[in-house]
Symmetry: C2
């Protein structure tokens, strides 16, 4: 049931998934914008760029040559944020001292990968059909499977349906048991991406990072307090009925602007059924996920007729964890896009947002309505 | 005691003030940058700009005329994020329903102000002397004092040392008792600022926002667990001894890069003595604070010889709160600047950071060393 009053008054909404609040100021979108404008992205890229270090057959900065791959290509990041091997860290501070109490650090090791989504330099997920996105999902699944702890209950379900991607050397073998795998994509220069060739990243670490930790706590709390039901199963069911925030749905997934969205056109894709991780999906689920990824990214580009920038990523069960952690995990995808009013005017999460609380200017319901309305053929194809 | 190994290995550090982790990847700063470059800021502004809505004597979008102020000027934000008066919100969902459990919202009212730091269009805090910054601190203090709950123990100490600023109408009178006041500045177009005239903002709300809530929990926990000592008093004492992360200090404040800094050149200014809010300061404290603000902003500009962008803000006691909340509060200032390697290459907190955990590329110790080294005359003055 819609609450139209929330389109008029300033209010806060509670993010049940991470246990935090967001301030909503719907009336504020009317102010004139005199600040920074982004430069709209170029859309005339070649299918192959001899200068691109991700194109098939090209040589990377470290001298290695990419294979002539035809679907996806996986390799270990040449500038990884975490190292696989490093000196051990033993804090040398006196026990009980002020320093020991106040300065807390721990070592992190891990492995980082890059995945090219396609050999074609000029494509993006928005240009690709669900069928063309399938190999990306299969690559994610293979990589996740290869890193699963043999002790995880998920290791038993991870059958070999997933097709190993084209890859360099034997990059899928982790050299240690890691705790968590973060799969993500930064798209567009505004989101710190330095190469338009369609690609994503995977950072795998010995630590369970902040965001999944916060979500796991909330998921597990809800399960305890609600007789074992899953927060995101209940949430997808409710949203699918309420419709106000739905952008697209199919048999396996609900996709829409979450009630507690921070970014103007933030989207979450949630599995309707309790699936803990990629390995819990069958072929039909994977195709439904590919369809959602295609529907969301295409609508994004159509909205402002531009290459819509975003950061996107998967949240799922840790590679290694307690049964409770793995059972409480629920597969979902987050899209965090910065644009607010046009291809050139973005939302800044700055002063107030960094110091006090995230703040948004249009309601999630208004955002969902606009994204619902711009499905169909990709605007670029119509211009051709 | 420095731990040089932390310059070489990837690790996480714990932010005791907000109870969260940050990933540190010191080796990563070596990678080449091929992504977005910021445009360096123009430094040739006129002292008075007839088009600027913040210059003395000019008319704003809503038709009001600014007075001919000569120090600071305070007015109610013409595009406030929260409204003072709005329709009341009563959720109409059925008790016990899925919607009631999952969709949680609450009304927020409040008042937003803008404060011009100087009549001169072309100045910034970095160009101003501590003496010239004093009126800004006095304006903050007057505004905070005017909004304090009469029930707060702080109301008793808030004497009239603070000088009321030039202001429009009677903007210092809140029309309701608010819970929290966030004083901040966004500087530079990169930080969403749309007018270079030196100014800051103040958002005052009926809610206690996320960040101060998290900090208050941690501060109060530390106090409970450590026989009543204050986390930030202990922290300033330790940092002042360790020196590695110190940028500048005087009798009343320690200023440096916190052990758990997220942004490359993040800085915190911490009161050495337990001061709960601006009203706890005497003239000497205020001048020492002005000196720190001047030293930090000047070093920032000197570092990459540019108008260094940042978001900056004050954390202090809530306007209204329990005695425990007010007593645990400890005055400090945060600076969150995005630049990483030069005037044009910033750090992006994007994919991994949004989905998993904040991540930094140089250590706080390396950042502090560089900021320590670039004190002295403002680079622009030398060029004159
Ligand atoms: O209020 P301003 O300066 O128009 O706006 C700026 O600061 C606000 C508070 O941090 C942000 O919400 C806006 O995104 C930003 O552009
Ligand atoms: O790894 P890349 O693409 O060079 O870098 C980009 O993504 C990383 C992970 O989100 C961020 O830490 C960087 O700031 C960003 O520029």
């Amino acid at each position: 049931m819609a609450e139209p009053i929330l389109n008029d008054i300033s209010h806060r909404r509670f993010n049940l998934l991470r246990g935090s609040w967001v301030l909503v100021s719907p009336h504020r979108n009317k102010r004139p914008w005199q600040g920074l404008k982004e430069s709209p992205s170029k859309t005339t890229l070649p299918e192959y760029d001899p200068e691109c270090y991700l194109c098939p057959g090209n040589t990377r900065a470290n001298g290695r040559k990419n294979p002539k791959f035809n679907k996806t290509f996986l390799f270990v990041n040449d500038y990884s944020a975490v190292k696989e091997d490093q000196e051990e860290y033993h804090p040398e501070r006196k026990p009980g001292s002020l320093a020991t109490r106040l300065l807390k650090a721990e070592s992190v090791t891990g492995k980082c990968y890059v995945i090219c989504f396609s050999p074609s330099h000029h494509l993006t997920l928005a240009d690709m059909t669900p069928g063309e996105i399938m190999p990306v999902i299969q690559t994610w699944t293979s990589l996740y499977t290869a890193h699963l702890s043999p002790k995880s209950p998920l290791a038993r379900v991870a059958e070999a349906t997933s097709i190993p991607p084209a890859s360099e050397g034997d990059p899928m073998k982790p050299n240690a048991q890691y705790r968590y795998m973060q799969i993500f994509e930064n798209k567009g220069t505004t989101m710190g991406c330095s190469n338009p060739h369609p690609h994503g990243q995977v950072w795998t670490t010995t630590s369970l990072p902040e965001e999944p930790t916060a979500e796991l706590e909330q998921l597990s709390k809800y399960r305890r307090e609600n007789g074992g039901s899953h927060l995101l199963v209940d949430y997808a069911e409710l949203e699918s009925k309420e419709k106000d925030r739905t952008v697209f749905e199919n048999e396996s997934f609900w996709a829409g602007v979450p009630y507690w969205a921070v970014w103007p056109f933030e989207v979450m894709i949630v599995s309707r059924h309790h699936k803990r991780a990629l390995v819990d999906f069958n072929d039909k689920d994977r195709l439904d996920l590919a369809e959602c990824l295609s529907e969301i990214t295409r609508r994004y580009d159509n909205l402002f007729q531009t290459q819509f920038p975003y950061s996107m990523g998967l949240h799922q069960a840790p590679l290694e964890g307690s049964d409770e952690e793995i059972e409480s995990s629920h597969f979902h995808v987050h899209f965090f896009p910065p644009l607010l009013r046009s291809a050139t005017v973005r939302k800044f999460q700055v002063g107030y947002e960094m110091l006090a609380e995230p703040q948004r200017d249009i309601t999630p319901e208004q955002a969902a309505e606009r994204l619902r309305a711009c499905g169909g053929v990709l605007y670029r194809k119509k211009l051709d």
